[in-house]
């Protein structure tokens, strides 16, 4: 009976997460993937595990050792140590594939504060046309913090 109870519970939980795929469900999954990418750059996160959530092109071009070490160096040079990296925004978008066909996408933004007086924005673009969001592109940029003049 206990086994049956466990089975039913697992089934119900799985059913609720699969059948009610909403913006919120996608956002939670996207946040997790984005945080894993950020971990790759700052905490030596697991790259191999991350590859299952990305397109093959992204995994090949952005998640190789050369690219990762280049980005790590650039991040360090441009922004220094970045603190308090947090989810900042979610945006519905779309993208064109190689055949110019439009697909629904989500843009997820994380933001942190770099020690070189910049706000660092981490943008992640996800293809949401399938059952689960797939990371297809990312972009990291900095915005200089303007100092207010004292009167």
């Amino acid at each position: 009976m206990k086994k049956l109870l466990l089975l039913v519970t697992v089934l119900v939980l799985s059913f609720s997460s699969i059948c009610f795929a909403s913006d919120g469900t996608n956002l939670d999954a996207e946040q997790k993937i984005a945080a894993s990418v950020i971990d790759v750059y700052y905490k030596n996160g697991n790259v191999e595990e991350l590859k299952q959530y990305c397109t093959a092109d992204f995994a090949k071009n952005a998640l190789n050792a050369t690219s990762i070490s280049r980005v790590k160096k650039e991040l360090d040079d441009k922004f220094g140590k970045v603190d308090n990296i947090q989810f900042a925004a979610f945006e519905r978008a779309s993208f064109l594939d190689a055949n110019k066909k439009a697909h629904p996408a989500n843009n997820v933004v994380f933001a942190g504060r770099g020690e070189k007086n910049v706000v660092v924005l981490y943008n992640f673009l996800f293809d949401v046309s399938g059952k689960k969001p797939i990371l297809i592109n990312h972009n990291i940029s900095g915005r200089q913090i303007q100092q207010q003049e004292k009167k």
Partner: protein, 164 residues
């Protein structure tokens, strides 16, 4: 026994939903409230249906009288609205800002800006701004000063998005 089983499963689902309140679950709640507000303002919805979702402060200014006034203005200035869709969520300190867009018969698009308080996992509407907007195409990812960008895909122009 079956009843007991059902009760346990139900409680577990409730527990999961309550204890692991994430940005995603907050977004779902906010989207649901936004849809209710849109429906109430554009069809036969009543003010009383919105009251449970209003913060105390906002309920004092967004009274039934104000609701009727806004509903009238939406109808006369924006016309018949349809295709109401969420397009942005911005995270603030213990609050979220959600923007939705609808197509209007008197304006190309109307933007609905919702401000939600997000305390103790309960989402409440704390502000509402509705305005006509012009639809402009814009790229999805910012290109300026980027440190890295994989070249795996062609960034596309977002046709659904209305620029402020």
């Amino acid at each position: 026994m079956k009843k007991k089983l059902l009760l346990v499963v139900f409680m577990l689902v409730c527990l999961v939903n309550t204890c692991f309140a994430s940005n995603g679950s907050a977004l779902d709640d906010e989207e649901q409230i936004a849809n209710k507000v849109f429906t109430a303002l554009t069809s036969k919805g009543e003010y009383s249906e919105l009251v449970p979702y209003l913060s105390k402060g906002f309920a004092q200014t967004f009274t039934e009288e104000k609701f009727k006034e806004v509903k009238g203005k939406v109808n006369t200035e924006l016309g018949n609205l349809k295709n109401f869709k969420l397009y942005t969520l911005e995270k603030l300190d213990k609050a979220d800002r959600v923007f939705c867009v609808a197509d209007g018969s008197k304006v190309p698009n109307a933007e609905f800006g919702f401000l939600f308080t997000n305390n103790d996992s309960k989402v409440l509407l704390n502000g509402l701004v509705i305005r006509p907007v012009e639809a402009k195409k814009q790229t999805v990812t910012p290109q300026a000063k980027s440190v890295t960008q994989s070249q795996s895909t062609t960034p596309a122009k977002n046709t659904n998005q209305a620029k402020k």
